[in-house]
């Protein structure tokens, strides 16, 4: 049976977009424009189908009030000061006894991994190399590149790119982001980040199944 190049491309593009959406969620406090998109009919419908409960007030309160609430929640959950859930891989994982600090050994591994693919960190980017949104954005770019290769009917490049994605998922993302999401679910005060953390975790489960478990089988 021949390869359905379009289907492969669509599949990769879906994954890329999903990573892109989650990148936006975790990169910084949501803007009013982003909240408006999330509350719009297409996304709210998708959320409803997925049984994501963002809470009634998310749709009914003025967007500026929601933006304000989410900015506070974002700071409280992910930034501090004080008690918070640090959104960095090096905080959640240990490498050869090195653990628990910002810019740890794991951060270096992530940075190197990403740089081996030809990407550089943008000079204006002030986050750390292993922030959750960086790892998700990296996956977005890989999947997007993979989609292009399917469209170009370049199977070798597309599958090579898939192997890179598998490696990054196994070596980094799956090792800590589900744990991070569990923490968010447990500690979120309002539904927005709890539900999106659940969504992230579910999406990564699906990624693990389709890219790693099923492939191995």
């Amino acid at each position: 049976m021949g390869t359905d190049w379009n289907k492969m491309a669509d599949n990769a593009k879906t994954r890329s977009d999903m990573y892109g959406l989650l990148t936006l969620v975790f990169r910084q406090e949501p803007s009013e424009a982003f909240i408006n998109e999330l509350r719009g009919p297409r996304l709210s419908g998708a959320f409803s189908d997925m049984e994501l409960d963002m809470g009634g007030s998310f749709y009914s309160e003025p967007v500026s009030a929601i933006a304000d609430q989410l900015a506070l929640e974002f700071s409280r959950l992910f930034i501090g000061p004080g008690r918070h859930i640090s959104a960095h891989e090096s905080i959640f994982t240990e490498v050869d006894g090195d653990s628990g600090g910002l810019w740890g050994a794991r951060t270096v591994e992530v940075k190197k991994f990403i740089e081996t693919t030809g990407l550089d960190y943008a000079s204006q980017f002030t986050g750390l190399p292993d922030h959750i949104s960086v790892e998700l954005e990296f996956m977005q770019k890989l999947a997007d590149w993979e989609a292009d290769k399917w469209i170009e009917m370049d199977r070798i490049s597309a599958e090579y790119c898939l192997s890179i994605q598998r490696m990054f998922l196994q070596q980094h993302i799956l090792g800590w982001i589900p744990k991070f999401c569990d923490a968010v679910v447990a500690q979120a005060d309002i539904p927005f980040y709890r539900e999106l953390a659940e969504l992230t975790k579910n999406f990564l489960k699906l990624e693990e199944r389709s890219l790693i478990i099923d492939t191995a089988a």
Binding site: E51, R83, A122
Partner: protein, 841 residues
């Protein structure tokens, strides 16, 4: 949420297309460039290892500021060690210095500007951009400046030195405020005030490389000291290699006392008395050396002969017999005699004092006693003695000063509180502001400082910060959320010292100046930003320019302006080597013996004091007028000081280059002190509170430990693992009288409140005292600092190292029950005079 499949995500992403396409909500991509998978990107071989860079820089964990080397692998700092080419540190670095890595990478670090969203102290914050933060600050500061009230902006700092201080003062002068507070009164102000009243603006160092005898009062030199690594290793070497005798007077058996020839236990607040008793022995047994007497003033008579001065000193110390001193201090008279004789007979001798001696009622006078003992044995500024500290004299750019420059007088304590607060009364700044009689700032900005923790009665100070009606706008520049920044309206994420530029100037231990720099080892984490980079940006937004565009630019210009450094290769040389000293320089001793040409235009001799001064420089109309009013009668004449006439020779002597108006003599008889009602000659003045103690009361003293600074290291996990508890040291008999056994939980209390800790029952402390170190008992400062696990499983609690925290205790903070109370001479905080009761909890 239901179980999801790929189709669900397709639906979701189809709907999110608009958001993604527009990049809504996301202002920046983390990446530049494009994927080049086949090309292979950058080549990192797992077999060739990591690239390691060695970068010279300087420490900042404590004021010693050792030069050091940082090792960086893959953009990550992995190790710090002493700089082998430093003539100050000789390649050594203490535990605190090596743990500096923890400062950069601790998981609770503040990485973004944060604006308060709830009430002060409610811990609700919103991240804002630097642009927003700077605009907010300008919206507060510019109106004050435009209205001609720049003094209503107050800045207060804890650790600012060298170029960190120079850039800050430069900005404040360009802005126009002189309302700048420091922290020196909680550190050692009395020591400096005592010295300034005698030999001017010089501060002592100890020439261990050449000394033959060392006596230390109230200073834990081997564990922690203002110039720790440069001096401690030299003292060890003197003792081990040359067998130099070392005697340590202290209420505790410190690790310095333990390494001494003899630990001499002494009652709290009696160091000066024992020094005066040593002077008594030396004068009575004619063990003094005459050499320095001609530079001393010991009575009202400026023209006394050396023999008359000897007689006057003898008379002044006559009442301080060893027996009297024994009765008061607990030090046996025979011990005083033995050490006095040894000190006087040694070819050279160092007398060391620090916080244990001076942080008392009349602490400044105790320091004067130390100077007297050094002077009569000719051990002032001589090889092997108590010498003048020599630091690097950097030149640096200066910005145009503001036309309107004003100061709010909240820095020097309440009226009448301190006679000579030349280093200010920093612990009373917030109480002064609350009181309001000297006005209140509208904006209070503090940096590298934690006023709600490091001062006395700190709960009261926190309540002042919490009250928005007292100070409307608070800004904190910090790397960690702490007891003070919790009340700020705006938190600015500071860089650590390992991410910034500076030139440095701490004094050398060998009398030769060392010039050294600090340079970033790694890029600042997150959005953290150096204050020296913030100043030019703020100035620009307020419509004035500074003479530098960034801290790096300031350091670069300084390197190119400073003689010696410039010729060695300037900024590029310093970046490569980190340190520089003049290879031709000779150790600096005996500056007071410099002979001065007094033939200059306008120089006249003041008959009363023997001072040569330049009446023209003093701004007097005519020579006759100048002679008529005399040197001491002319305001500002000390700035026109030229020399001191001693036996017909004009010597530089000891110029009055501080706020003290004096002749060029070592002013052991001080009109300044007498005029304010204090003893003119170094004296023993009992501590009032100690004279009326009830039988069940004890003295509370505090101290430092080797692995922590006062408030800046508790979040460093390597250090906190070593030292995380501060039990109360209590003598066996004192404990027994209260039914306290070693390890018992105890209450320490007085009218200010109560703290609890455990008892360390030991013979290593004198009876009648409880000693508690002052760096622990944090309420914030991250999981390592406070011991509080985050209620969330992320943040520091997600740090796998947290599971390795094997200790359960996190200490107590004694400052809670220590009042803010000043030495009436210097304004120094009287840390060691507190009276408490102790009981089994």
């Amino acid at each position: 949420m239901k179980k999801l499949n790929r189709r669900d995500f397709m639906k979701l992403t189809a709907g999110s297309g608009c958001a993604l396409a527009a990049g809504l909500g996301c202002s920046q991509s983390a990446f530049a460039g494009s994927l080049k998978l086949q090309a292979g990107g950058k080549d990192f071989s797992p077999t060739t290892g990591k690239e390691r860079q060695a970068i010279p820089t300087a420490c900042w964990q404590c004021v010693t500021r050792d030069s050091m080397i940082g090792y960086v692998e893959d953009g990550r700092l992995v190790k710090l060690e002493g700089h082998p080419d430093s003539i100050r540190t000789l390649g050594k670095l203490c535990a605190k210095g090596q743990a500096g890595i923890n400062q950069v990478y601790f998981p609770d670090r503040i990485l973004h500007p944060m604006k308060r969203a709830g009430k002060r102290g409610e811990h609700k914050w919103k991240r804002i951009s630097w642009d927003e933060a700077l605009d907010l600050i300008v919206s507060k500061l510019k109106p004050l400046r435009d209205a001609g009230t720049p003094e209503l902006f107050m800045y207060q700092y804890g650790r600012h030195k060298a170029s960190q201080a120079a850039t800050m003062y430069d900005f404040m002068q360009a802005y126009g405020t002189g309302t700048i507070g420091n922290h020196t009164s909680v550190c050692e102000a009395a020591k400096w005030v005592g010295q300034e009243s005698l030999w001017g603006g010089m501060y002592d160092n100890w020439d261990y490389d050449n000394t033959d005898y060392v006596v230390i009062f109230g200073s834990n030199q081997f564990e922690t000291h203002t110039n720790h690594i440069p001096t401690a290793q030299r003292l060890i070497r003197a003792k081990v290699d040359r067998g130099v005798p070392l005697y340590v007077f202290d209420v505790r058996l410190t690790n310095t006392a333990a390494k001494a020839d003899q630990w001499v236990p002494i009652k709290v607040g009696h160091d000066g008395l024992v020094m005066l008793a040593m002077c008594n022995v030396i004068m009575n047994e004619k063990l003094y050396r005459k050499d320095h007497f001609k530079f001393m003033r010991v009575s009202e008579d400026y023209k006394a002969t050396v023999d008359e001065k000897i007689a006057a000193v003898k008379k002044n110390v006559a009442k301080y017999t060893p027996e009297f001193a024994e009765k008061q201090s607990g030090v046996p008279a025979d011990t005083i005699r033995k050490i006095a004789r040894g000190f006087a007979k040694a070819k050279s001798a160092c007398l060391v004092t620090y916080r244990g001696t001076v942080m008392h009622y009349h602490g400044a006078d105790q320091e004067r006693a130390a100077m007297l003992l050094s002077a009569i044995t000719n051990n002032l500024d001589r090889p092997g003695g108590r010498v003048m500290g020599v630091g690097a004299g950097w030149k640096h750019p200066s910005s145009p000063k503001a036309k309107v420059h004003k100061t709010l007088h909240v820095k020097d304590g309440f009226p009448g509180e301190a006679a000579y607060p030349t280093h200010h009364v920093s612990h009373q700044v917030l109480p002064m502001i609350k009181d309001g009689q000297a006005g209140r700032p509208k904006v209070y900005w503090w940096s590298c400082y934690n006023p709600g923790f490091i001062n006395g009665d700190n709960k009261e100070l926190q309540s002042i910060m919490r009250d928005e009606s007292i100070i409307p706008f608070l800004i904190s520049t910090t790397i960690v959320y702490d007891e003070s920044s919790q009340y700020a309206d705006l938190i600015l994420p500071d860089v650590t010292y390992l991410e910034r530029w500076d030139w440095e100037d701490m004094v050398s231990a060998n009398q030769i100046a060392e010039f050294y720099i600090r340079q970033p080892l790694v890029k600042p984490l997150g959005e953290s930003r150096c204050q020296g980079d913030v100043w030019p940006e703020l100035a620009k937004r307020m419509g004035f320019e500074l003479a530098y565009s960034s801290k790096e630019d300031f350091v670069r210009q300084s390197c190119e302006m400073t003689p010696g450094v410039r010729e060695a290769g300037g900024f590029e040389y310093m970046k490569k080597h980190g340190v520089w000293h003049d290879p031709e320089a000779k150790p600096n001793y005996g500056f007071y013996e410099t002979k001065v040409d007094v033939s200059g235009d306008g120089v006249i001799l003041d008959e009363k004091t023997g001072v040569y001064w330049n009446w023209k420089k003093a701004g007097v109309g005519t020579e006759a007028e100048a002679k008529g009013q005399g040197y001491l009668g002319t305001k500002g004449a000390k700035k026109a000081y030229v020399a001191q006439n001693i036996d017909g020779t004009a010597y530089l002597a000891y110029p009055p280059n501080t706020k003290f108006v004096k002749a060029g003599y070592l002013d052991f008889y001080s009109d300044n002190f007498a005029d304010k009602g204090f003893p003119a000659f170094p004296s023993y003045t009992p501590i009032p509170e100690h004279q009326k103690m009830a039988d069940d009361e004890l003295n509370l003293t505090t101290y430092k430990v080797a692995v922590h600074t006062h408030s800046r290291t508790a979040h460093c996990k390597w250090l906190t693992e070593i030292k995380h508890d501060n039990p109360g040291w209590i003598n066996t008999k004192t404990a027994e009288a209260r039914g306290i056994k070693n390890g018992d939980k105890i209450r320490v209390y007085n009218s200010l409140g109560e703290i609890t800790t455990t008892a360390y029952v030991t013979e290593g402390i004198i009876p009648g005292v409880i000693a508690i170190s002052h760096h622990l008992g944090r309420k914030h400062s991250g999981v390592y600092g406070s011991g509080k696990r985050s209620p969330t499983p992320g943040g520091a609690a997600a740090d796998p190292d947290v599971k390795n925290i094997w200790w359960k205790k996190h200490g107590t903070h004694p400052n809670t029950i220590i009042p803010n109370s000043s030495d009436p001479i210097s304004g120094t905080q009287r840390w060691m005079d507190t009276v408490v009761r102790v009981a089994k909890a």
